[in-house]
């Protein structure tokens, strides 16, 4: 009664939650363009896409992906053998337990004429599968907490997933062990099945079970009379053997039973087997009901994503289908950390403590964004900084074991956030090279705006830029102004500039304009002077600084050995730091 009612409750929660989660795949909006497409269009388009795929030769690709990527998980194997072993043991063992043991009434019984959980091969296999899962969990714990795989971060979801599997497995094994030693269980079976009443016979059978089956009896202890055992064996053969294999076959439970045998009677009296049964069943049902909300949803979403990934390949998808796919991808992420391990710029996280630099951690923030949760301006800026700090090297996408097109996800989120109006200073770096290459993509409707915004945000903090034609005061209030800008060792030599203008003469940017000052503001030699005089605003606010190619012509040819280009680099660093501080 308890079992069926609670199972139904768990199942109902599971199904409703699953429907809810799947609905987010059609509702969540990530990339630019997704905002204008309705959920129903996305749903219909995805159905069309699926149908067309099934009717095309791609079905073979799907089949291949299902076997190699979903079942055998080659993509994990390719990355890391230990991780593959961990995953295949947990998932393989758990699936087999689910099919053979948890669903025995629906599957195993139908497949085999004679099924009892206490006869072989079922009894042996159950323990074998259980041990396989436990090996996997041990590897998981070892990787996370002892080996400490670089940049593998553990969040509450990861802990929950490990904890749940641990509880299910250990309660199962303890349940088996306590049932082996429990006298009341023995007694119940004897009353129900043996039909014995003769005290001598009862004693002999009990002796046999105590000796051979690990039952801890309050009445009988070793040594046993040989004759009694022989009689017990006979009775066992006729009444019990049909449904009971030797307990040693259930090696995990039997081993545990031996360990707990000294307190066997106490365990039985405390009704531990019953308590453990409840723990075991409730843990399984909680796992089922909570699955759609947890990391374990990846059983479904990641498998699905691998199939989508194989079917799509390098094709371009419609905006509707891409939006749907990206929402699915957010759920497909298992937070395994492979992307962060291989990420080209993850090392930046050691210097800038913005968690969104790490690809595996960006996903959580993007999920929040996609769900429509209101992020604070600070959170949005962190996310934008994190997604922009990316060289678009595709490494994350190549290594993702569940086939998420991470790079495209970053690109889409980036563009969407850039439209939100926050100035992104990283735009003014060669990180924008990729964005330039993508400028003809339909996604980039407002290509120029974010670039202009970043420059304007800098100029806005440069008061002097607003008073260009006014004479500068010779006694600036800020003392730093007099001592020059505080540049680091790589670029300290600006003060030896004697104003020969060679840097400006050789600069290809200056040469590009008829009236360079109009477009560029201060020219290179003037920036050197401004730096010397500490006229921060003029240096920071000049377009020259941000339009510098870093071709090093100026520095190479400076007769005074001023590191002009390096001073520029340094000024750009300082400018962004300054503006960030002032506006944060």
């Amino acid at each position: 009664m308890f079992l069926s009612v609670s199972t139904y409750i768990a199942l109902v929660i599971f199904i409703l939650a699953l429907i809810y989660r799947i609905s987010t795949w059609f509702r969540y909006k990530i990339g630019i363009g997704s905002e204008e497409i309705s959920t129903s269009t996305r749903f219909i388009d995805s159905l069309k896409g699926i149908l067309l795929t099934f009717l095309s030769p791609k079905i073979l690709t799907l089949l291949k992906a299902f076997i190699l990527d979903v079942l055998l998980q080659f993509r994990i194997l390719r990355e890391d053998f230990l991780r593959w072993l961990m995953h295949i043991t947990i998932y393989g063992g758990f699936m087999l337990l689910l099919l053979m043991h948890a669903l025995d009434r629906y599957i195993t019984v139908k497949l085999f004429d004679k099924y009892y959980s206490t006869i072989n091969p079922f009894m042996f296999l159950r323990d074998l599968f259980g041990i396989v899962v436990i090996i996997g969990i041990a590897i998981a714990i070892y990787r996370r907490f002892i080996l400490k795989v670089p940049r593998l971060r553990t969040n509450s979801m990861d802990l929950y997933a490990i904890l749940l599997v641990v509880v299910i497995m250990l309660s199962g094994i303890f349940l088996e062990a306590t049932k082996m030693v429990a006298y009341s269980d023995y007694k119940r079976m004897m009353d129900e099945y043996s039909g014995l009443s003769d005290p001598q016979e009862l004693k002999s059978l009990e002796s046999y079970w105590v000796k051979e089956f690990g039952t801890i009896s309050p009445n009988i202890k070793e040594p046993f009379d040989e004759k009694l055992l022989a009689q017990g064996k006979e009775l066992h053969q006729s009444s019990c053997a049909e449904c009971h294999a030797k307990p040693q076959w259930a090696f995990a439970g039997y081993g545990m039973a031996k360990v707990i045998s000294p307190i066997g009677i106490g365990i039985d009296k405390a009704h531990l087997p019953i308590a453990l049964w409840y723990i075991h069943v409730i843990a399984c049902l909680v796992g089922l009901a909570y699955l759609p909300f947890s990391k374990m949803l990846h059983i479904l979403s990641s498998s699905l994503n691998l199939l989508v990934n194989s079917a799509v390949g390098k094709e371009k998808m419609s905006i509707a289908n891409r939006s749907t796919r990206q929402a699915l991808e957010l759920d497909a992420c298992t937070h395994c950390g492979t992307c962060s391990l291989r990420c080209s710029v993850a090392v930046a996280y050691d210097e800038i403590r913005n968690i969104n630099i790490l690809p595996s951690e960006k996903i959580a923030s993007i999920k929040a964004l996609a769900s429509g949760r209101r992020l604070t301006p600070q959170e949005l800026r962190y996310l934008l900084d994190g997604v922009y700090l990316c060289t678009n090297c595709y490494r994350c996408t190549v290594v993702c074991p569940v086939g998420i097109n991470l790079q495209d996800l970053w690109f889409n989120v980036r563009e969407r956030l850039l439209q939100k109006g926050y100035p992104e200073f990283l735009l003014l770096s060669p990180l924008s090279f990729y964005r330039g290459l993508m400028r003809e993509e339909t996604v980039l409707r407002d290509y120029q705006k974010p670039l202009v915004r970043a420059r304007e945000a800098i100029v806005a903090q440069c008061e002097l830029m607003k008073a260009k034609d006014k004479a500068l005061s010779l006694t600036p209030a800020d003392k730093k102004f007099q001592s020059g800008l505080n540049l680091s060792a790589q670029a300290k030599n600006f003060s030896v500039c004697f104003g020969c203008q060679t840097c400006t003469t050789v600069c290809p940017i200056v040469a590009n304009y008829e009236n360079p000052q109009e477009v560029l503001g201060l020219l290179p030699h003037q920036i050197m002077h401004a730096t010397g005089l500490g006229l921060r605003d003029l240096a920071f606010g000049s377009n020259m600084l941000w339009d510098c190619l870093t071709c090093y012509q100026c520095q190479e040819q400076c007769p005074q050995g001023v590191s002009v280009t390096d001073v520029f680099y340094e000024l750009k660093n300082l400018a962004v730091q300054y503006v960030r501080e002032k506006t944060s």
Partner: protein
């Protein structure tokens, strides 16, 4: 056997597979061993504008990884080259920076001591292998092919840091091109920037510079511009292609990567060199190739005729 840690950087694996495949094919012919270090990260170049410390740490980490394997580093990208060189220089000049960087690296069990040397593909070919040895391995020569060599700023300057070649009158690349039988033309803007550092930041300005440079190359008689850097090549290839429509350009000056040019004369197949992967077609270049043996025979014949 000579061995290097191959530093691919971020652009090549993502957008320029033909550079990697052609460089590997060429280096294999030259008996250069290449070690791939998967842990390599971005060199730090794109971050120099905004995050100096990250740039330094990124470069130092790469150098430390190579150092741990007792290998010198070979880059294919000139921006990676210039950046790694710059970081190497700064760290050697400023012990305090080195100390700071090592403090972070030590968390991973790495240390930068400055033992690994940074080289570029071209400097390896020129200095470590040598033009003569390259010539020995050639089976074909170009005839009547005019190439504009593009040196790339970050390889040449600042010369004090990079030590690639003479910054004012470099010849290294020209010699490597001429080894294939092609003519390396004189062109005034040879040492100018390709424009790529501003691509994505100020596209109009970037295109101005690229256009000037390519027009100058073409006007000087070049049939192809030859690059050995992913940024320069992408600028001359993908970006030039965009410019065809944006700037109404009629006749592009196609870009060929040096290992593609050299690879063909070594007899490596066009597929391995990824000739088809260039966005502005370079397939015509194969028409200027002649078997060296046939040529010698022909020359012999000429001499016989003269007699």
């Amino acid at each position: 056997m000579m061995e290097f840690a191959l530093f691919l950087g971020c652009q090549i694996p993502a957008r320029l597979n033909q550079y990697e495949s052609s460089a590997r094919a060429v280096l294999k012919r030259m008996d250069v061993g290449l070690v791939d270090i998967r842990e390599f990260n971005c060199c730090g170049y794109p971050l120099r504008n905004i995050e100096f410390k990250v740039f330094l740490l990124s470069s130092a980490r790469n150098l430390a990884l190579a150092e741990a394997r007792n290998l010198n580093v070979m880059t294919l990208c000139k921006c990676c080259y210039g950046t790694l060189k710059k970081a190497d220089y700064l760290l050697k000049e400023h012990p305090s920076l080195q100390k700071e960087v090592n403090k972070t690296l030590e968390q991973e069990g790495l240390t930068y001591e400055g033992k690994s040397e940074v080289k570029h593909l071209l400097s390896v070919l020129y200095r470590d292998i040598g033009v003569d040895k390259i010539k020995e391995k050639m089976v074909k020569n170009y005839r009547g092919l005019r190439i504009a060599t593009h040196y790339g700023c970050h390889a040449l300057r600042p010369s004090q840091v990079v030590g690639f070649d003479d910054p004012v009158a470099p010849t290294l690349f020209d010699q490597l091109v001429e080894a294939t039988g092609a003519e390396s033309i004189y062109w005034p803007m040879k040492l100018e920037c390709c424009g790529a550092p501003l691509w994505g930041i100020n596209d109009e300005l970037s295109m101005d510079l690229t256009l000037k440079k390519l027009t100058n190359g073409k006007g000087s008689g070049a049939e192809y511009v030859c690059a050995a850097c992913p940024y320069c090549h992408i600028q001359f290839d993908a970006v030039q292609k965009m410019m065809l429509s944006q700037r109404g350009l009629n006749h592009p000056l196609p870009s060929i990567l040096y290992p593609q040019l050299l690879g063909l004369s070594l007899g490596i197949g066009g597929e391995a060199l990824g000739l088809e992967m260039n966005q502005i077609s370079i397939s015509g270049i194969e028409n200027t190739l002649y078997e060296i043996v046939a040529e010698v025979k022909e020359e012999g014949k000429k001499k016989d005729d003269e007699k």
